[in-house]
Amino acid sequence: MGKRPVVIGGAILAIMLLGFLAFQAFENAAVYYYTITEAASLEINGQKIRIKGEVLQDTVTYDPQKPLLGFSLSDGHSELPVKYEGVMPDNFGHAQEAILEGVLTETGLNADKLMLQCPSKYEGV
């Protein structure tokens, strides 16, 4: 038997394996980018979304015992209430923009990831 069929067979098998793994992984891992205005009219389907907006500092509540951080995010047109289960970041009080990842519910966004963009005198790291 020549080498060629073995090589081609192996390659097909390898690609199928990767495809299978990727397909399995994709379902739970996909995070869709939406704007706040788009999110307001989105149906609630358990899909993970990523949203960027301005933190309205006068809406911030924080319970360190849980810990649970709550605030509203705005894009200038609409607002979206956010709950984030985690420690309030050091620089949250100065945050202008925040990027959040989570699942949309009846009461707003349940976020599990929070990234801040702060005015900094330092160049990006």
């Binding site: 891992a29 015992q65 420690v87 702060c118 160049e123």
Partner: protein, 622 residues
């Protein structure tokens, strides 16, 4: 200072360009007399970038804030070690550092007797010099390290406190040494295919560079993880961030390349496979820089600059066309003769399978990383893939690699039985200990199976011929197994609590008794620090302390958190002072198993690579 620095950068640019053009012309016309001039120009280019970097260092050490770059990244009160590391804290400085390190490896090639023979050094230097040209263009036009400050400030802005950490002192230079070495294997291939197509030696020349690159990348990736773990305050060391992945890409393809070099010479397509992997590695190094600099993907590390991104992308396309074109042009040379050896033994098949796995992991992680760009084009909405994608796709493949690693040892029945038993036992124990964590148990089983195999190999070699290369290879694999154990342990056995405590409170966590006594405030000239220290007790005895603090700076709104880590060989306790009201503190405490095995494993890997390089050198000289 500004003028001297810029002049040196122009000098390195023109002499580098001259070295390439003169070198190519002289090689084409077979004018050996001119080759000496090309070498000299290349060396001038090396020395002038050394001079430019020296000037930059001098500017940092003497607080010369007439340079905008120094004023932005340093200040008078900064400790000496961070004045040095502030050199690569920003965009322009880190590109200058990379340029410097690549130049130094070129200097090494020009200086080596082995390379001087037959003017190989000039042939090999063409490609790295071309990459340096790219950096020089950026340093001259897009990100100028020697731009003057206007007006000259009395003191600099200082270094971001997050970068004031030992990890950030050593992580970038190590990674750049790794990246620079990554470019040499393909450079040796290009030199041979263009000017000595009859010879088949490039793979031998490439091996020490590939090994060094691999060792340095391993160390660079691990120090980056160590920095994230000790500095970023979320209690992890790897997050599948695009920039982290960018350093993993060349590591994966380089691992595949190193295994491809071990294939027997008669293996059909060995040359082509090695060439493609070396080429891919070099492209990925440039791509990684593109990813970091262009800001096309949201990342914690991004220095976004769109124009610079386009320059990198352009260079990447040119380089890819060149590498692919050369492979097509010299395909006969790379594919070897048709009547090569046809029988394949078991060990060769295992090697080939490991190469396939490395490439698959690379493909999966790569597609996942650039998926937001792909989906932007095809789905008209950006879709990001979070960490779970990367774990799901890569962990089974990584574990399979360790299964192969254990299989690629002695064929004796007794050895096989021992390995299988050890693996099954480890799997069963961890299945019970984790409460049925399937992937974790399989991972521990694979690690134990590979560990047993490698230890028996090591003993066999130590009792037998004591071949340094064999010992080095086994040691670096042993180090990787230790890292797998650490990674699995710290992913499977994690728990954490958030606790609000009053002074005098004790809390029990994971068999430890932690006592909180209150907060202390320390005042500095331009900062104040709020700190807490917990006493760690276990079994009625005090085992140590755990302290975490937040520092507030006068000049900056953003406080800096220092986390506390209490390390034992079995587990780490991790404390983050999350906040407080009066003396009431909000603590985040985390317990991760076996983290220190990752760092220890990396040290063993590195030791193995050093022994291997030493063994290679001895084998060549005899």
């Amino acid at each position: 200072m500004s003028i001297f620095g810029s002049a040196l950068l122009w000098l390195t640019f023109f002499s580098g360009l001259g070295a390439i053009l003169l070198g190519i012309w002289a090689l084409a016309k077979q004018r050996r007399d001119l080759l000496g001039y090309s070498r000299r120009l290349s060396l001038i280019s090396v020395w002038s970038v050394v001079g430019a970097a020296g000037l930059m260092l001098l500017a940092f050490l003497t607080d010369d804030f007439s340079l905008a770059y120094v004023a932005r990244h340093s200040c008078r009160s900064l400790p000496l070690v961070y004045k040095i590391s502030a050199f690569w804290a920003g965009q322009a400085g880190s590109l200058l550092l990379w340029n410097l390190i690549l130049a130094l490896s070129l200097g090494h090639i020009h200086g080596g007797q082995k390379y001087r023979a037959d003017d190989l050094d000039i042939k090999v230097s063409i490609l790295p010099n071309a990459v340096r040209l790219l950096f020089n263009i950026i340093l001259l036009f897009l990100s100028q390290p020697f731009a003057p400050a206007d007006p000259i400030p009395r003191d600099g802005a200082g270094l971001n406190p997050m970068l004031q950490s030992l990890g950030m002192v050593i992580h970038p230079p190590i990674l750049f040494v790794g990246f620079s070495c990554c470019l040499i294997p393909i450079a040796t291939a290009v030199a041979e295919l263009l000017w000595n197509p009859g010879r088949r030696e490039w793979m031998k020349q490439a091996r020490p560079w590939a090994l060094s690159a691999w060792g340095m990348l391993t160390l660079g990736i691990v120090t980056g993880g160590l920095w994230a773990y000790t500095e970023l305050g979320w209690g992890g060391y790897w997050a599948w961030d695009p920039v982290e992945n960018a350093s993993l890409f060349p590591w994966l393809t380089l691992s595949a390349f190193l295994h491809a070099l071990l294939l027997p010479d008669g293996f059909v397509g060995k040359g082509m496979l090695s060439y493609c992997l070396a080429g891919l590695t070099s492209l990925l190094v440039i791509f990684g820089t593109y990813l970091t600099r262009s800001g096309v993907l949201d990342s914690v590390h991004a220095f976004s600059n769109e124009r610079m991104g386009n320059v990198f992308l352009g260079a990447l396309v040119i380089m890819a066309f060149f590498i692919i074109g050369l492979a097509c042009y010299r395909r006969k040379h790379l594919l070897g003769t048709r009547n090569s050896q046809r029988t394949t033994d078991g060990k060769t098949a295992l090697l080939a399978a490991s190469i396939v796995l490395f490439v698959l992991i690379f493909a999966g992680v790569f597609l996942g990383t650039v998926f937001p760009l792909i989906s932007h084009v095809f789905l008209e909405r950006e879709v990001l893939l979070d960490e779970s994608f990367f774990s799901t796709i890569s962990l089974p493949l990584f574990i399979s690699l360790f299964v192969l690693m254990g299989a690629h040892t002695s064929r004796k029945r007794a050895s096989l039985v021992i390995r299988v038993l050890v693996g099954l036992l480890a799997g069963a124990i961890s299945y019970l200990a984790t409460g049925g964590h399937m992937l974790g148990s399989i991972s521990f089983a694979a690690a134990a199976w590979a560990l047993a195999g490698q230890i028996m190999e090591l003993l066999g070699t130590l009792l037998g011929n004591r071949d340094r290369r064999r010992i080095g290879a086994i040691a670096s694999h042993l180090g990787l197994i230790l890292m797998l154990i650490g990674i699995t342990g710290s992913s499977v056995f994690v728990d954490e609590i958030y606790q609000v405590v009053e002074p005098g409170d004790t809390l029990e966590f994971g068999g430890y008794v932690l006592e909180y006594t209150g907060l202390q405030v320390q005042w500095g000239i331009d900062r104040y620090k709020v700190e807490t220290e917990l006493t760690i007790g276990r079994g009625g005895k005090v085992r140590g302390t755990l302290s975490s603090s937040k520092t507030f700076f006068e000049a900056n709104d953003q406080p800096h958190t220092d986390v506390g880590i209490f390390t034992t060989p079995v587990e780490d306790l991790y404390l983050n002072l999350a906040g407080w009201q009066g003396q009431t503190a909000h603590l985040h405490i985390k317990r991760l198993a076996l983290v220190s095995w990752i760092w220890a494993g990396a040290a063993v890997v590195l030791l193995g690579v050093l022994v291997l390089l030493r063994g290679d050198r001895n084998a060549r000289s005899t």
